[in-house]
């Protein structure tokens, strides 16, 4: 596993450029409608099941001018219809929150919808400013129990939950995302607790339940990193349904991805 890295520079250097991993111009799984998904580079979580381990290194990827990304987004406006727009995913976008604030403002000036797919790692004034320019936040809650969260990601879920609470205060829309990993995040009592915690939130439009899959495993091999969940198989249809059944008690909409 990649060692912990400081990410201060990522938020500061080259203010007009984003450090990105890759682009997907027909994103249909990262927010509503057709989306231009910018996968940014760098993440401090070390999720054992990470499907994009090549986005972790804060020094990897390449710099791309925001103006070029904006040009691409504008060229896609005819595809966005009423629902689509730009999603910044990663990696962890909040590591470049200052620059993303500029970028989201640019998008809003062109009338383009903005969406942030984040693990909620950081909550400072810059994050709060960014959230103001974020039409939809998709918050990945990796686990509700902090001990399990640390086991799964290497870090606490404390800030993630705080960020959710802050978003709730602002009254702006939010989706939750939860990856169901057999033996790791499928304990009914913890899923139940997650539901209890969020049941009164007004801003949560839906929760997406994402069954664990192994599509990213070969990337770990390419990077010469050991994949610890080798023996974990994707959840069965029944266990997905079980988890969804619990979540349906607490959320308006549960979408199985």
């Amino acid at each position: 596993m990649l060692a912990a890295q400081d990410a201060t520079a990522l938020n500061q250097q080259d203010p007009h450029k984003l450090r990105i991993h890759s682009l997907e111009t027909f994103g249909t799984h990262d927010g509503p409608g057709i989306r231009f998904v910018i996968f940014v580079q760098g993440c401090q979580f070390r999720c054992l099941y990470c499907q994009n381990p090549d986005t972790l290194d804060v020094n990897g990827g390449k710099f791309e001018e925001m103006s070029e990304l904006l040009r691409r987004a504008k060229n896609m406006r005819s595809y966005f219809a009423k629902t689509g727009g730009v999603t910044v995913s990663g990696g962890e976008p909040l590591l470049q929150r200052g620059k993303l604030l500029t970028f989201f403002k640019m998008l809003h000036e062109e009338g383009i919808n903005t969406c942030l797919d984040t693990n909620g790692r950081l909550l400072d004034q810059q994050t709060k400013d960014l959230l103001e320019e974020t039409d939809l936040i998709m918050l990945d809650v990796k686990h509700f129990d902090d001990e399990w969260h640390k086991k799964l990601t290497g870090l606490s879920n404390n800030t993630t939950l705080k960020l959710a609470a802050y978003r709730e205060e602002t009254g702006k829309p939010m989706w939750l995302r939860y990856v169901l990993v057999p033996g790791w995040s499928d304990q009914p009592e913890h899923i139940e607790a997650l539901g209890q915690h969020f049941k009164d939130y007004q801003t949560i439009e839906k929760i997406e339940l994402i069954p664990y899959h192994k599509l990213g495993v070969n990337k770990w091999e390419v990077l010469n990193m050991e994949y610890e969940l080798k023996d974990v198989e994707p959840p069965t249809q029944e266990s997905i349904e079980e988890a969804a059944e619990i979540l349906r008690k607490y959320f308006k909409e549960v979408k199985i991805k």
Partner: protein, 750 residues
């Protein structure tokens, strides 16, 4: 016209002149709803289709040809009645007396027909052979006027697929005319046209030719009366009800495909015309939805059974035995109403009632203003069957000046009854670039094809110098191409005139001269490599560039990058302008397509390594597609690159074939339908008018399915896939073509 009055049609100019467009405009019932009214197959439909499936299985088992009538030269009247299962068919008529028995149509080129028969281990009846000891066919005629450079360009594969040894096709009769008027009125109108041609002043030669043509058209109409008589039907009068309307339209088309074996013989835009009769009967209570669907199912079944006799070599350029019975569905009127009717839905519904199929080549004329219910049904059908293609009505309607048009062959707009096109296959642009890099010599054997192209001064390729040579090469190719086309179509008119189709056209229709170019993505990437990277030609002892090495990064077409996309635009514009400079037979108006059909595989085989890193022999991308795997930023970036090509430079069509795995379209069926609708709206509308795209083939399937079908073809008799402007039964493609399809970009990012 008492019978027509009984159906309560609104009268207009169509009553006193031949004008189905006016009839449709006055009588159509646009439909804004969803697909919930549709009916499934009747018992008779299912039985008939089972019989067709059995016959097609036999056909596949016999290497793609069930039987040939080797005794008869095919014509509208050459064969007596034939049935699938007599008594069950609501719409009758086969090309020969037996299902899937192919007929000989030798006027395009007798030798080609003879070889096709021999390849099947059969012999042409000597009495037929004897005819061609005396009669000149189209093929003989063209070659009698070809010169050395045309022959060289042809044999070296610079110009390919030219219709000089087979029928040109691409002409669409207005088959609605038979239903609306019957032969009696059509003959009267043609007779009046004949008498109006005075042959006294002006272009006497043209006038005499027209008179001769009209005479042939009238005899064709009389033949159709005889043909209908074999089935106990009388087409001298207009159709009196929905069943007759469908039947008459089919008879008009049937006569065409009995007489001609044109590469592509489209149907036109008959669905909303037929809807008027169906709607009138539904209203009168003389027809149920199930019966209406049955007429369409049986009609479509007949269209699926159309066959032509082709030699094996033909499969290289037109893989999978296509016939291009292209039917254009939907679109809008200039007045803002939609042309979508319930019968637009019924045509698509055949893909469920009879299962997926490549034919007829169902083409939706997409407009932003199409009813949402129809858009969603189209998307659903694409997701389920991969059998539909889409063309931009909002682009073609204003640009080509007609709201009553069909699609000739794959992608070419054609005003119905008013215009035709002279089909011209295509030239190989990458090969042309290699001529430019080799002082006019062919890259494989060094034969000089173009004189006067100076050698390059360095093996490290200089962009300006390459462009200079390339433009000279394009000029020369355009010159030889134009010359060939004029000869071909002059001879085709004289030796294989399409009398059955012209009988359903205005007497002196407008003509497009449809040129074509293949390999635009290779050109864009090659020139981009030369411009932005450092490309070195590696030459053999003859001094021919046999490979290229590029250092440094350069943008590739298919990623919405203007630096390279603009090269594709520029070359398209340049080459088309060069073609436009040349005189055309019958003052045809030049157009151009960026389309390959399946010849991208054959072109690849015949073309040496190119500067974009493509190795010698590797397939081209189909149509205007980016090269496989080079579009790295997802589907929309890829679509956007293609959308930038200017339709004004390629009015004959800019073909793009798009393949995506279902999951990448969205998490569930609802999302998938919505996203596909939005994607097509986005692609066709564009951010600006200049970004409006022209054509899209939509495939929604997993590569695994294709690989399994490659291994176990018997399990996939109806698996259909869009290739380049048409669809094929995957299992009827050659193995080489199957592998090329599997190798294409499948957008699968999730």
């Amino acid at each position: 016209m008492a019978e027509v009055k009984e159906l309560g049609f609104v009268e207009g100019t169509w009553v006193n002149e031949i004008n189905p467009k006016n009839f449709v405009e006055l009588n159509i019932t646009p439909y804004e709803g969803d697909a919930s009214f549709l009916a499934g197959p009747t018992e008779a439909t299912t039985k008939l289709w089972e019989a067709c499936m059995v016959a097609m299985k036999e056909e596949r088992a016999k290497d793609g040809c069930r039987d040939i009538d080797t005794d008869t030269i095919s014509s509208a009247t050459s064969h007596k009645a034939g049935y699938i299962v007599e008594g069950l068919e609501t719409i009758v008529g086969l090309q020969t007396d037996e299902l899937l028995k192919r007929a000989m149509k030798p006027y395009g080129g007798y030798r080609v027909v003879e070889n096709a028969v021999k390849e099947r281990g059969m012999e042409v009846n000597p009495s037929v052979t004897n005819v061609f000891n005396y009669v000149k066919d189209h093929n003989n005629a063209v070659f009698s006027v070809y010169d050395k450079e045309i022959r060289t360009f042809r044999s070296k594969g610079i110009l390919t697929g030219l219709p000089d040894n087979y029928a040109r096709g691409r002409i669409i009769g207005d088959y609605r005319r038979l239903a609306l008027y019957g032969t009696k009125q059509l003959i009267a109108a043609k007779t009046a046209d004949f008498n109006n041609i005075k042959v006294e002043f002006g272009d006497i030669k043209d006038q005499i030719r027209l008179r001769e043509e009209i005479n042939m058209q009238i005899s064709a109409l009389k033949d159709i009366e005889v043909m209908a008589g074999f089935y106990g039907l009388d087409v001298t009068e207009p159709a009196k009800n929905a069943q007759e309307a469908v039947q008459w339209v089919y008879f008009a088309y049937l006569a065409a495909v009995k007489e001609q074996d044109g590469a592509a013989m489209s149907l036109g835009n008959v669905s909303s015309f037929l809807d008027i009769y169906i709607e009138a009967e539904l209203k009168a209570g003389t027809l149920t939805e199930s019966q209406a669907q049955e007429f369409i199912d049986h009609f479509v079944m007949k269209l699926r059974m159309v066959r032509h006799l082709r030699p094996g070599a033909y499969d290289e350029i037109f893989g999978g035995d296509p016939t291009w019975v292209t039917e254009a569905i939907g679109g809008q009127f200039n007045d803002g109403r939609t042309k979508v009717t319930k019968t637009s839905f019924r045509f698509l519904q055949t893909l469920y009632n009879l299962g997926a199929s490549p034919e007829p080549n169902l083409t939706v004329l997409w407009s932003e203003a199409l009813p949402q219910g129809f858009k969603e049904f189209c998307a659903q059908v694409s997701i389920d069957t991969s059998s539909v293609q889409y063309e931009n009505d909002d682009l073609m309607r204003p640009n080509r000046g007609s709201d009553d048009y069909g699609i000739a062959c794959c992608v070419s707009q054609q005003s119905i009854g008013k215009r035709i096109q002279f089909f011209g296959a295509r030239t190989n642009l990458p090969k042309t670039l290699l001529l430019a890099l080799n002082s006019g010599r062919e890259e494989k054997d060094g034969v000089t094809c173009i004189e006067g192209i100076a050698p390059l001064t360095s093996d490290v390729l200089n962009y300006d110098e390459v462009m200079d040579r390339f433009k000279k090469a394009m000029d020369e190719v355009a010159r030889v191409y134009a010359k060939s086309m004029n000869m071909i179509h002059y001879m085709h008119d004289h030796y294989y005139y399409e009398k059955s189709q012209f009988a359903f056209l205005d007497t002196n229709p407008g003509i497009d001269m449809a040129y074509g170019a293949a390999g635009i993505s290779i050109i864009a990437d090659s020139l981009s490599a030369i411009k932005f990277g450092k490309t070195t030609a590696i030459r053999n002892e003859q001094g021919l560039a046999v490979d290229f090495k590029t250092e440094g990064e350069y943008p590739e077409y298919g990623n919405d990058d203007d630096r390279v996309d603009s090269i594709a635009q520029e070359i398209t514009h340049y080459f088309f302008n060069e073609l436009k400079k040349h005189a055309t037979y019958r003052n045809a108006v030049p157009t151009m397509s960026l389309l390959t059909i399946t010849s991208n595989v054959m072109y690849g085989k015949k073309t040496g390594a190119t500067p974009d890193g493509r190795k010698a022999g590797e397939s081209f991308a189909p149509g205007a597609n980016p090269m496989h795997g080079r579009d790295r930023n997802g589907a929309v970036a890829s679509l956007n690159s293609v959308a930038k090509l200017d339709y004004n430079d390629a009015q004959d069509g800019i073909s793009n074939t798009f393949s995506i795995v279902p999951k990448a379209l969205g998490a569930d069926r609802g999302d998938q339908i919505t996203n596909l609708v939005n994607m097509m709206d986005g692609y066709f509308n564009g951010e600006t008018e200049a970004d409006m795209a022209h054509h899209l083939n939509v495939n929604v399937l997993n590569r695994d399915t294709l690989m399994d079908a490659y291994e176990n073809p018997e399990n996939y008799p109806q698996l259909t896939i869009r290739v380049s402007g048409y669809a094929v039964n995957f299992v009827r493609l050659s193995k080489a073509h199957q592998l090329e399809v599997i190798a294409r970009t499948f957008h699968e990012s999730m």
